[in-house]
């Protein structure tokens, strides 16, 4: 590079980002995703409207028909609703990323001397905190309507950990959608056309044995079924280990498939 020797001498600039700085960048970007809630508390409501609506509709509309009693149905369906909401909420990451890309914020961030992973990691940290909020909201509102936690704090924390672990695995899929969708609106369409069938063809809302036999076979494989059953076990009591293991294996599989694809899409953007 002899032609470049004419350039001015520069103060020493670190050539890499250390782990401490990377963590700080991630936290700053997580703050950025969350601070909006402070000015616009409606956003928190946006996050919560869907859970609340589903909770009330399912309990009072379907409850009697499915379980003969709204309280019995609530005890059965709340874990399913929690799982469904968690899955939909993973797409927040995709929508946020896609918005950043179309608005040019993503490019701005990538032109800064920050950790390459921070724009993704910051978003995922913030979205995980939103997951915790939604979980707390479901349990709180559920309690008001008559849902009972039988397994104590350990069960609640266990359920939360399992849900967050699965959500993190799913966020690789979400990142891929966010990086490849041409616009945020497309993400919504994908969300509906993938997540709705996935969550409804499970035992999240109805017992498996009420379904036609060919569908039962899929329902028994569907990770949503295993997650819902694991969360039921952790909150209301019942078997946990088997369902939790299957759920985590699904999560692992999803991460193994989509993490490389997402990282490839991320590098292609870079």
């Amino acid at each position: 590079m002899t032609t470049l020797t004419a350039a001015a001498p520069r103060p020493a600039v670190p050539g890499r980002v250390g782990p401490a700085a990377a963590l700080r960048h991630t936290m700053t970007l997580a703050w950025r995703s969350l601070v909006q809630i402070k000015h616009n508390p409606m956003e928190l409501l946006d996050l919560s409207v869907q859970p609340v609506m589903f909770l009330l509709l399912f309990t009072y509309v379907f409850g009697g028909a499915i379980s003969g009693s709204t309280t019995d149905y609530l005890q059965f369906s709340l874990p399913g609703l929690i799982v469904q909401n968690m899955l939909f909420a993973t797409l927040t990451t995709a929508i946020g990323l896609s918005t950043d890309i179309t608005k040019g914020v993503f490019d701005r961030l990538r032109s800064l001397p920050i950790a390459r992973s921070a724009p993704l990691a910051g978003r995922i940290v913030a979205d995980t905190l939103k997951q915790v909020w939604a979980f707390a909201l479901f349990l709180g509102l559920g309690a008001v309507l008559g849902f009972r936690v039988h397994m104590g704090v350990t069960g609640v924390l266990g359920a939360l950990l399992l849900l967050v672990a699965f959500a993190l695995a799913m966020s690789w899929l979400s990142v891929l959608i966010g990086l490849t969708a041409s616009e945020p609106e497309k993400v919504q369409i994908i969300a509906f056309s993938v997540m709705m069938p996935l969550t409804f063809t499970s035992n999240a809302f109805v017992p498996t044995d009420t379904l036609p036999e060919w569908l039962q076979r899929w329902v028994e494989v569907n990770p949503v079924t295993h997650l819902a059953d694991a969360v039921r076990g952790l909150l209301s009591g019942g078997p946990v280990a088997g369902n939790a293991t299957v759920s985590l294996l699904w999560g692992l599989g999803i991460a193994l498939v989509f993490a490389p694809l997402s990282l490839r899409a991320f590098r292609l953007r870079a």
Partner: protein
Amino acid sequence: MRYAVQAEGLVKHYGETRALDGVDLVVPEGRLLGVLGPNGAGKTTAVRILATLLRPDGGRASVGGFDIVREAHKVRSLIGLTGQYAAVDEALTGVENLVMIGRLLGMPRAGARARAKELLERFDLTEAGGRAAKTYSGGMRRRLDLAASLVGHPQVLFLDEPTTGLDPRSRTELWGVVRGLMTEGVTVLLTTQYLQEADELADDIVVFDHGRVIASGTSDELKATTGAQVLQVRPLSGEHIGMVADVIADVIGTRPDVTGGLATVNVKDARVVPAIVRRLDDLGVVASELTLRKSSLDEVFLALTGHRAVEDPSADETKEKEGVSA
């Protein structure tokens, strides 16, 4: 001369299309290079490569002496980037947008806040600083975007079509800001479709077309490359336009373009003008308009590329302003 930006033979393809087809350019420290070209000429691709957002398929480039591929992180610590679309987080306030960048650049909280305040003041956004950016007008957003790219005191600033879509007043304001930065010694690479903008701001200009640099030099040098001044004659009476065209053709040997009662022709030697005036006078033709001026960049662009840069009403204004009666 020290170069803040140097690029040699940059190539970038997208499938079959060559967005950049061997681009060389240099920006001396503290100067403003205007990259002029129509949509799709490769201007944005070049900026994205130099700002480390895109890897070149061929060629090499350095910013501040650092290689844009191997030392991308170091390059990023020297540059500011303002893209074609105002890249601000619309849900955040003006202050928060700037504080976020400051924090990402490693400033302590108080330092980031102080820098945000300073920049908001400078860009006349202090009052709007506490409002979400989505409530801002286009011009305000663009100013906030530019402020965001200045948080880290960049030595090299990339402005990718910073005034596209702005109204003339906001455009003039932004030009003022860019001139202010120049006095502070910041090196700027600015892309634009507006010939007037390049003419107003740039020390040096490169003209892009189809991913290549087709001409470079100062505004005056470029105007001189086509070797021509432009003579325009409008007879008072429209019927005389034919005679005007004949006289001009006779004197300089080229037939002028005649549009709307105005004869326009490139002339290489200003001494033909008195001859033409005398001949018209002999014929009793009175000219209501007779101008001799340097070709505008618009005409240079046309001469270089065979097509116009962009339909830009403000470019026409310039032409009129530049018109000097002979």
